[in-house]
Amino acid sequence: MTLTNRSKVVSNKKFSFWEMIYLPAIFKGMAITISHLFRKKTTVCYPEVNRPFSEVYRGLHVLKLDDQGRERCTACGLCAVACPAEAITMVAAERKPGEEKLFREEKYAKVYEINMLRCIFCGYCEDACPKEAIFLTNRTVPSDYERDGFIYGKDKLVETLDKRVDVSKRQTASVLEFKKDKHHKHNQ
Amino acid sequence: MEKIIFYSLSTLAVFSALMVVLSKKPIHSLLYLLLCFFTIAGHYVLLNAQFLAVVHIIVYAGAIMVLFLFSLMLLNLNIKEELQKTVWMRIIAVISGGLLLVALVGVLKGLDTSAGPMLASTQIGLMKNIGNVLFNEYMLPFEVASILFLTAMVGAVMLGKDEEKVVKK
């Protein structure tokens, strides 16, 4: 019984004379290696050449503001629950009167931290978010000398008004439609 | 010039030969022996016997000493495990050393040093001349020596073989 058609039957047959002196096999191998000399190289010379990122690359997170510049996040904690690496922590707070311009909902995240050393960039937080607040973007997490530097708080995660992060490529109509699926409890 | 080289080589040769005996570590004495071989090869070169010098290095320094070093490295000889020197051993050592000294003195006394270097020609050490002498005058001893080596080789192979297998066959 064969599971695949690629399996090879191993045999212990005696070598013929030409196989025994190894030289033909050696020359064959050398011909193979030398043919690689003229092949196209697969190396991407990084600082000069950048490898193109996918439009929906899952990189550094962003906490979106709505069109009036208010934070969308309501600190429901679904992203933290969904996170398989347990990288997200948050502290919720109640919106005080007079802060309506800053926060869209009555509850907001006072502290919102993602540990980038724990994060595996799976994008489950993005899927879980009912408020369209967190997205992964095609930016990468820069390197750092300290571990503390990899815990990203709201100062680094929330987008600023003058530098909005474009997530229209990943927030397509079909994605929005998918999120309305009743299978996801939070959409009920 | 030649004299300076001769004397410095000789000093080095005697010094290294002494160090072979006096060194505590076997590996050190072996390396001194190697140095001694090189100085002797230098003497051959001074006598215009380059072939002899090179063969001396190839055979003694390049092959035999490598084997010696090879086995010494695996022995792991420490000073602690050195043989116990009993009184009897010391007495025997003194007697045999004294006998060697007597023999050496006797040889030196019988040596005629007045004639100086007795080289028939300066070309005697060249490869062609050595070959001619070896294969004309000393043909029989040469071949007997090679047979001796062959016997030694066969013996070594026999010793190296697994005894049970030899018996079975």
Binding site: G29, T33 | G62, M127
Partner: protein, 339 residues
């Protein structure tokens, strides 16, 4: 006086050229490896990575000097020095090119025209193992010792076959002077045509004696960490690594001298060049041959996997040695028959 000054200058030039070629052989090796594996190899230091050997050298010099406290101090330092010395010694007898004539005086491009040239090369090559053995033993480390033991047994095993292949070459040539051997190979009379089996044996043994792949069992990273140079760091390690490339350069030079006509090239005498121009062209041709062989060494390294130890011994004693003996016998019979 002029003679001595000329020889000193020549020695200095040959030393610098050997070191320079060995330096750039390291870069060539890495570039070649890269290209054979669909990569570019080092290309950051300077244009096409041309400054990479310099960067490596500087790095090795500034690395921490480390010495195991149980090591034999003197021998530990002697090991790499001896390896380097022996690697450089061989180039003294290689005829690099025809003589150059300046104002009627002949300037030979060979440091020493020994009348036992080949045997000298052979003797020095057999010395090469001492540096490795001493260094490996003095490190007082079991991996180093294993590397040293492997190096010595490998060297002894392959020296025999190498000596016999040289012997059959000497029988054909009738001389052991390297100059005579080169001059006998004018035109197409390359020894490789008369001694193809001898060349093959010599080449395989040269690979083994320089500890190149697939015979690099003394350093064998996967089994012995780094073999004899496990405990070495800084420039002492650099000497070991560097002497391998010098050995490779010298071996290539010896192979081209013995089997590929040295500085001779077919049709060179038909071009009607003046002796000096012909000497320079011959020198260039010789170096082209050497670099070709260095490339071949590298090509083999990046193609063949390492031998297993028993395979190495079997190849040396049961295949190469009888083959070399057979070659010797056949060469003798042919010479007798044609006389």
């Amino acid at each position: 006086m002029l003679y001595i000054i000329y020889k000193l200058v020549l020695i200095t030039i040959i030393l610098l050229v050997s070191l320079g070629i060995a330096m750039y052989a390291t870069l060539l090796e890495r570039k070649f490896a890269g290209f054979l594996q669909d990569r570019f190899g080092p290309d950051r230091a300077g244009k096409w990575g041309l400054l990479q050997p310099v960067a490596d050298g500087v790095k090795l010099f500034f690395k921490e000097e480390y010495m195991p406290n149980t090591a034999d101090k003197f021998l530990y330092i002697l090991g790499p020095s001896l390896t380097m010395l022996v690697a450089l010694l061989t180039s003294a007898v290689i005829p690099w090119g025809p003589s150059i004539f300046i104002a009627g005086t002949e300037f030979s491009l060979q440091v020493a025209d020994l009348n036992v040239g080949i045997l000298y090369v052979f003797a020095i090559m057999s010395m090469g193992v001492y540096g490795i053995m001493i260094g490996g033993w003095a490190s007082n480390n079991k991996y180093s010792l294993m590397g040293a033991v492997r190096a010595s047994s490998q060297m002894i095993s392959y020296e025999l076959a190498m000596g016999l292949s040289i012997a059959s070459l000497i029988m054909v040539m009738g001389s052991v002077r390297l100059n005579d051997i080169v001059d006998a190979q004018q035109g197409w009379n390359w020894n490789v045509i008369y001694q193809p089996v001898g060349f093959l044996i010599f080449f395989i043994c040269a690979l083994a004696e320089t500890n190149r792949h697939p015979f690099d069992l003394p350093e064998c990273e996967t089994e012995l960490i780094g073999g004899y140079h496990t405990e070495y760091s800084s420039m002492k390690l650099g000497f070991y690594l560097f002497s391998e490339y010098i050995n490779m350069f010298v071996s290539s030079a010896i192979i081209s001298t013995l089997y590929f006509g040295g500085y001779h090239f077919p049709f060179i005498d038909k071009l009607g060049l003046s002796p000096n121009v012909a000497a320079i062209v011959g020198l260039m041709i010789f170096f082209a041959k050497i670099i070709g062989f260095i490339m071949l060494f590298m090509w083999i390294r990046w193609t063949l996997p390492r031998f297993r130890y028993d395979q190495l011994m079997r190849l040396g004693w049961k295949i190469l040695l009888p083959l070399a003996l057979l070659n010797l016998a056949i060469t003798g019979i042919v010479i007798l028959a044609t006389q």
